[in-house]
């Protein structure tokens, strides 16, 4: 580190700088910031907080406020009169209730499937695969994340199309693929969010100390018992952490449903179809996934998983 050899400019601090070299403006500002931590903090936080609070939280608050407004059904203009009509419609209408329940069901199914598929996969990459090849497997788990959301949905649109690869592969067995619909939606969402579940489980399994497993074996536990009593409890927070992604990403999705869902509607689709004509109703509908996610986050926080995020 040759740069640390004292250059004339950096030779003395503060008063030792000598009377012939008055400190430059940068140095004076630096000194001021150094003496006043509050000022330093303000300098650090002003720009990002203006952005996040004004641009983002402000517009979010405005959106949820507008959920209490209504729309002139004739002109689609927003009428700024306080009313809870949107929420009454939301709770009262059987259509919205069915869609909300279906959305939560899809999100739970996707989360369950992701955990079920990711666990053996991560177990292999973390503890069974030859140690030298493990980094390669981690890359292999992560690679689909970079391939792009829409590209992957497009791939499944091709696979599930009528007479497409899946139908073609199943035909010798006298079967056919599920086609576009609810099943396809669950399948594709599972495919999309699998890496978010596999990676935390892999990390947790890698960090599992061997000594615990040896101790369990020494105490007479077979592999199955060790798995249930030692491995599973220690990996559980990772599953919960992964589920935050799989659950909330599924809950808000509407693009996948549009592409492979056939006539299926989830909350996201209802929000989308109401944006231009009835923004207040769309905003009210948008509160549903947000509320569900908040409840889910609170539930997961109790497992301590958020600390490992």
């Amino acid at each position: 580190m040759t740069t640390l050899s004292p250059s004339p400019q950096a030779a003395g601090t503060g008063g030792a700088a000598g009377p012939d070299r008055p400190p430059g403006p940068a140095r004076r500002l630096a000194g001021l910031l150094h003496r006043r931590p509050r000022l330093r903090l303000a300098a650090l936080l002003t720009a990002p907080l203006l952005w996040l609070v004004l641009a983002y939280l402000g517009s979010l608050a405005a959106l949820f406020l507008s959920a209490f407004w209504t729309t002139d059904s004739f002109t689609s203009e927003v009428v700024r009169i306080w009313s809870s009509r949107n929420f009454e419609e939301l709770v009262g209408s059987p259509v919205y209730r069915t869609v909300a329940l279906r959305t939560v069901g899809v999100a739970l199914a996707v989360t369950g499937l992701c955990a079920l598929i990711a666990f053996p996969l991560a177990f292999y990459t973390a503890r069974v695969a030859p140690p030298r090849r493990r980094p390669l497997f981690v890359v292999a788990l992560l690679m689909p994340l970079w391939a792009g959301y829409l590209v992957k949905v497009y791939a499944w649109r091709l696979i599930l199309s009528e007479g497409g690869p899946l139908d073609w592969a199943l035909r010798p067995f006298g079967l056919s693929g599920p086609g576009y619909g609810l099943t396809a939606t669950v399948l594709v969402l599972t495919y999309l969010w699998l890496p978010y579940m596999a990676l935390p489980i892999h990390t947790a399994l890698v960090q599992l100390p061997d000594s615990l497993l040896h101790a369990s074996a020494d105490l007479g536990a077979r592999a199955g018992r060790t798995f249930v009593s030692v491995v599973l409890p220690m990996v559980w927070p990772a599953v919960a952490a992964g589920s935050v992604f799989t659950f909330s990403l599924s809950l808000g999705d509407y693009i996948t449903v549009q592409i492979v869902g056939g006539k299926t509607q989830l909350i996201g689709n209802l929000v989308y179809s109401n944006v231009t004509l009835n923004l207040p109703l769309a905003a009210a509908l948008g509160t549903v996934p947000v509320a569900v996610i908040v409840v889910y986050l609170l539930a997961v926080r109790r497992s301590g998983a958020l600390r490992s995020l």
């Binding site: 150094h34 903090l41 053996p120 792009g148 690869p165 693009i255 996610i293």
Partner: protein, 271 residues
């Protein structure tokens, strides 16, 4: 854990099936781009590179790619600055509302994209339109940067946490002021974390479609929006298949970069 032989075989089979399920769809996209049949019939009647040539000449796809790159670079730049500032504030200071700040950073990515999208859309409509700023590139960058901040923030916070304060103290003891310390000591130690965060932010922005749909307006089309709009058009099907295949092939680049960065990071940790 001492696994029995059957258990090992079962796990190996399950992992093999899992990886096959992950990669087969991507391989099919590559194969699909070589399918000479315009409607992508299966199995492909032959293989051809004609569509790749056709896609190269497609104005719409090229313009969309360029738009995506510009939006991604701008959003990444904003996210790098803001994310680093917040990371320093949260990691080096304790203040009232620190938890709330970290929470506000994560929020744009935790909430469904459509909620962020329509919130920004209606805010831009009421605030910016009277000022003469319509939806366009600027609003796309604002939207993207908002949810990109978190990845930069996470990377820089993680690095700052592991960075011993003694390096900076040493620099200051040797007479370097705050800015000089940052330039000569802190920044070089943060560089790989900033690169990793920037890479992630760019990838996030490049792949985004929902917030883009609501912030782009009619004139601006990013690559994902272009794919989405053309996916169901039979006329454009071959070009879409080539663009999708190209994106699968291009995903190797960030993976390679991330690998290089992570080996760089472990090297840096040993300093």
């Amino acid at each position: 854990m001492n696994l029995s032989r059957p258990a090992r075989i079962a796990l190996r089979t399950a992992a093999g099936l899992g990886f096959a399920a992950i990669y087969l769809p991507l391989l099919l996209v590559l194969l699909g781009s070589l399918n000479p049949d315009r409607s992508a019939s299966w199995p492909p009647p032959g293989l051809t590179l004609d569509w790749w040539a056709a896609a190269w000449d497609n104005e719409g796809a090229r313009a969309a790619l360029w738009t995506s790159v510009k939006a991604g670079l701008a959003a990444t730049a904003v996210a790098l600055v803001l994310g680093t500032l917040i990371a320093f504030a949260v990691q080096r200071h304790s203040f009232f509302g620190r938890e709330a700040v970290s929470f506000a950073v994560v929020l744009p990515i935790a909430l469904p994209g459509i909620v962020t999208g329509i919130a920004l859309n209606s805010a831009f409509g009421t605030v910016l339109e009277p000022l003469g700023v319509g939806l366009g590139m600027f609003t796309v960058v604002v939207g993207h940067a908002t949810f990109c901040i978190v990845v930069v923030f996470n990377n820089v916070v993680a690095r700052l946490r592991r960075l011993p304060g003694s390096y900076e103290e040493a620099a200051m003891d040797l007479g370097a002021h705050t800015f000089r310390t940052f330039r000569d000591v802190t920044f070089p130690l943060l560089r790989s974390a900033l690169l990793a965060g920037g890479l992630l932010a760019f990838a996030l922005s490049f792949d985004e479609i929902v917030v883009t749909t609501f912030t782009a307006g009619p004139g601006v089309q990013t690559l994902p929006v272009w794919i989405f709009n053309n996916m169901t058009r039979p006329q454009q099907a071959p070009v879409v298949s080539v663009v999708a295949a190209a994106l699968v092939l291009l995903s190797v680049v960030p993976i390679y970069a991330a690998q290089r960065l992570s080996s760089d990071t472990t090297g840096g940790a040993r300093v």
